[in-house]
C-alpha cells in the first residue's frame, strides 16, 4: 500500500439499459426525454399492484454457454469495450445475481432453463468477466453495498489507482428485473403503482430496470492514450453510513451529507464549485426528500441542475452507480444534464433544480451519489478540464 497519489480517471465506459444497447444510445434517448418503462412480460405480475419496469426487450441467455440473463446483459456491455490494459483488476458489483438460480431451484423458472441451475454468486460473475476479457480470474474482488455497490466499486478503484496499487481497474455490474427483486420491492411498498416520478410532488415509488455497466478506472496516462482526449478525473469520493435504519434513509440526510462532504474534502473544492448533480432519485417519497434535505444542507438555496435517470431506465440496483457515473461523464463532456423522466410537477424544494427538460451547465465538476439499504451512501465527484 503505497502513498504515491496519482490522478484516477475514467478511461472507458460502456452501458446497456432498456433505453439503449450502448452508452451512446442511452445518452441520446435520455436527452430526448424518452422512457423505457413498460408493462412487465418476463414473469407474471397479475396479482401485484405494480406491473411495470424497464426491461431490455430482446434479452435472452445462451444456455450453450451456461449463461443466464445477467451474463447476457453484462456480455453486451463488455463487448463494447476495446481490449483492456494487461493486468487490469476486475471489481464485480452486481447485487442480486443469484436471483435466477434461486428462482430456478424453487421451481419457478421455465423447464427449459435447467441449464441455468448453476450457483451464480458474485465470485462466479467476476471470474466469468475475467475469463471473457482474457484476464487472470484470480485478480479481482466483489463488492456489495446494496444500491450503491458500483459507485462504491468506482470509489475503491479510484483509490487503488491513485495510491499506486493498480494501473487500471474495471468496475462491472449487471442486475436484471427478476421476479425475486420485483416481488420483494413490491412487498416493501417501494414500487410505484403508477409512474416513477423522481422529485415530483406526487411521486409514489420506484420502478426497476435491467442495467449493465463497465467503467474502466485508470491512471491519467492510460486514460489519455485510450481516449485520445482529456479524460474525466475522479476528483473525490466518499462512503458513509446513515447509522439509522436498514431500509429507510435518515430523514436528515446525515449519511449522504457525510459521503458528499468526504468527497468534497478529497477533491479540495467548496460546495459552490459543484455545478451539476446526478442524484440517486429513486422516486420514493423518502429517498428523494432525504436527498433534497442533504442538498439544502450542503449547497444552501443555490439552484443548479439536478437530475435522476431512474424514471427513464428504472432502478438498476448494483449497476446504477456505474451507469450514472458514465452518464455524468457524458453530461460533463456535453455541458448538459438530461431531463428527469416521469417528472411532471417538481416538489417545492426541487423547483429550479430538477426539470423534465435538458438543462445546460457551464461547469467542469459534477456530483453523483447513490444510497441503499443498510444505510449505505456513496458519492463521486467527477471533473473534466480541457
Amino acid at each position: 500500500m503505497t502513498d504515491a497519489r496519482r490522478d484516477a480517471c475514467i478511461a472507458d465506459a460502456a452501458a446497456v439499459t432498456a433505453l439503449g444497447e450502448s452508452l451512446d444510445a442511452t445518452w441520446t434517448r435520455l436527452r430526448a426525454g424518452e422512457s423505457a418503462v413498460a408493462p412487465i412480460r418476463r414473469f407474471g405480475v397479475e396479482s401485484l399492484d405494480c406491473r411495470t419496469a424497464a426491461c431490455v426487450a430482446d434479452l435472452d441467455a445462451d444456455p450453450r454457454e451456461g449463461e443466464n440473463l445477467v451474463c447476457a446483459l453484462m456480455r453486451r456491455a463488455l463487448d463494447a469495450l476495446d481490449p483492456l490494459p494487461a493486468g487490469t483488476f476486475v471489481i464485480w458489483t452486481g447485487v442480486k445475481g443469484d436471483a435466477e438460480f434461486v428462482e430456478a431451484q424453487s421451481g419457478e423458472a421455465p423447464e427449459d432453463r435447467t441449464e441455468y441451475r448453476a450457483p451464480w454468486l458474485p465470485r462466479h460473475y467476476r471470474r466469468w468477466v475475467c475469463r471473457r476479457l482474457g484476464l487472470d480470474p484470480e485478480e479481482g474482488i466483489e463488492i456489495n453495498a446494496a444500491c450503491a455497490s458500483s459507485a462504491a466499486g468506482i470509489a475503491l478503484a479510484a483509490d487503488m489507482v491513485s495510491s499506486g496499487e493498480r494501473e487500471s481497474v474495471l468496475v462491472c455490474a449487471a442486475d436484471i428485473v427478476s421476479r425475486f427483486t420485483h416481488v420483494g420491492f413490491c412487498a416493501l411498498k417501494a414500487l410505484s403503482p403508477t409512474v416513477c416520478r423522481p422529485f415530483d410532488a406526487r411521486r409514489d415509488g420506484l420502478c426497476l430496470g435491467d442495467g449493465a455497466s463497465a467503467v474502466l478506472v485508470a491512471t491519467r496516462d492510460v486514460a489519455e492514450r485510450r481516449l485520445g482526449a482529456p479524460p474525466v478525473r475522479i476528483a473525490g469520493w466518499g462512503l458513509a453510513n446513515d447509522a439509522n435504519h436498514i431500509t429507510g434513509p435518515a430523514r436528515d440526510g446525515r449519511g449522504l451529507k457525510a459521503a458528499i462532504g468526504s468527497a468534497l474534502d478529497q477533491a479540495g473544492c467548496a460546495p459552490d464549485e459543484i455545478e451539476a448533480y446526478c442524484a440517486h432519485g429513486t422516486g420514493t417519497v423518502y429517498n428523494d426528500a432525504m436527498e433534497l434535505t442533504a442538498v439544502e444542507a450542503l449547497f444552501g438555496d443555490r439552484r443548479f441542475p439536478i437530475f435522476s435517470v431512474k424514471g427513464a431506465i428504472g432502478h438498476t440496483l448494483g449497476a446504477a452507480g456505474a451507469i450514472e457515473a458514465a452518464i455524468s461523464a457524458r453530461a460533463l463532456r456535453d455541458g448538459v444534464v438530461p431531463p428527469t423522466g416521469g417528472l411532471d410537477e417538481p416538489e417545492e424544494r426541487g423547483r429550479g433544480r430538477v426539470s423534465n427538460a435538458s438543462q445546460d451547465f457551464a461547469g467542469h465538476r459534477i456530483l453523483t451519489t447513490n444510497s441503499g439499504f443498510g444505510g449505505v451512501n456513496a458519492a463521486l465527484i467527477l471533473e473534466r478540464r480541457l
Binding site: M1, T2, D3, E46, S47, L48, W92, V95, K96, D98, A99, V102, E103, Q105, S106, E108, P119, L121, P122, R123, R126, E138, I141, E142, I143, N144, A145, A146, A152, L156, D159, M160, S163, E165, R179, F180, V183, G184, F185, C186, A187, L188, K189, G238, L239, A240, N241, D242, A243, H245, I246, T247, R254, G255, A258, S262, F373, G374, G375, V376
Partner: protein, 239 residues
C-alpha cells in the same frame, strides 16, 4: 503504514471469544447448525430487539461485531462515530434468499415477506450494527477470496490509509447450513460457520492492548516480521 489491532470478536459452533482472551479461533465446519452465541443481553445494551429473529448469518455477524467493539473499548455511544465495517463472505446471505423466495410462491407473490427480502442483502448485517452502535463510516461486503478475512482486512486498511474512517472493523461472516457442501455450491467442501472481526486503528488510545501491524503493498505483517495470511493469525498472538 502502521495500524494497530485493538480488539476482536468471534462466534462459531465451537464457542465464542474476544481477541484479548489470547486464545485461537476455530471456525471449522460442524455437523450441527447450532451456533454457540453469547446471550443477547450480554452483547447489546440497550437491547437489539430484532436479534432473536435474525437469520444465522446476521446473528453471527452482529454477535462478532459486538464482541469486537466491546473488546476494543468502543461500546454503544450516543454520538455518531466515523467507524467503518468491512466484511467478507463466501456464501453471503444466500440461505435467506431461499427463505425469502419461498414466501413469494403463495398467491403469486402477494404474501411475500418484506422483512426477509431486506435481509437478502449481505450488507444488512452491517447496517444493523451501524445503526445500533452509531457507526457512520464506510460499510462494505466483499466476496471472500484468499485467506480467511484477508480481502476484508486489505479493504479496511485501504480505507484507513485513505482517511475515510478513524477506526475500521474487518471480518468474515458465514451462515451457510452444514448441508450446503453437498448442495452443489462448492462440491466437496463444507462451508465455514461463524464470524470473526478485528478492530483496526491508526492512532489508538493508550492503555489498551494493541498489536502493531505493518502494511506494505498487499502484504500485512506483524511487528516481528511474521506474515499475516488469515485474520485468525491475529488471534492468540501476543501483543
Amino acid at each position: 503504514m502502521e495500524v494497530y489491532v485493538t480488539g476482536g470478536g468471534w462466534v462459531a459452533p465451537q464457542g465464542y471469544g474476544q481477541w484479548s482472551d489470547g486464545r485461537g479461533v476455530d471456525l471449522s465446519p460442524s455437523d450441527s447448525d447450532a451456533m454457540a452465541l453469547p446471550r443477547a443481553r450480554d452483547l447489546f445494551d440497550p437491547p437489539l430487539s430484532r436479534y432473536g429473529r435474525f437469520d444465522r448469518y446476521t446473528k453471527a455477524g452482529c454477535a462478532a461485531i459486538a464482541l469486537a467493539l466491546r473488546d476494543a473499548g468502543l461500546p454503544r455511544h450516543d454520538e455518531d462515530r466515523v467507524i467503518g465495517l468491512v466484511s467478507s463472505s463466501l456464501y453471503e446471505s444466500t440461505q435467506t434468499d431461499f427463505d425469502y423466495y419461498r414466501t413469494t410462491l403463495e398467491q403469486d407473490g402477494a404474501l411475500a415477506s418484506p422483512n426477509l427480502f431486506s435481509y437478502t442483502l449481505p450488507g444488512i448485517v452491517l447496517g444493523e450494527c451501524a445503526a445500533h452502535f452509531t457507526l457512520t463510516g464506510p460499510t462494505l461486503c466483499l466476496g471472500e477470496k484468499d485467506g480467511l478475512g484477508m480481502t476484508a482486512l486489505r479493504a479496511a486498511l485501504s480505507l484507513l490509509r485513505a482517511g475515510k474512517a478513524d477506526v475500521m472493523l474487518a471480518g468474515r461472516i458465514e451462515g451457510a447450513s452444514s448441508g450446503w457442501g453437498e448442495a452443489g455450491f462448492e462440491k466437496g467442501s463444507q462451508p465455514l460457520q461463524g464470524a470473526v472481526f478485528v478492530v483496526l486503528e491508526r492512532r489508538p488510545a493508550s492503555g489498551l492492548s494493541q498489536l502493531r501491524l505493518v502494511c506494505e503493498n498487499e502484504e500485512v505483517r506483524l511487528e516481528n516480521g511474521g506474515r499475516i495470511a488469515s485474520l485468525l493469525d491475529l488471534f492468540g498472538t501476543e501483543s
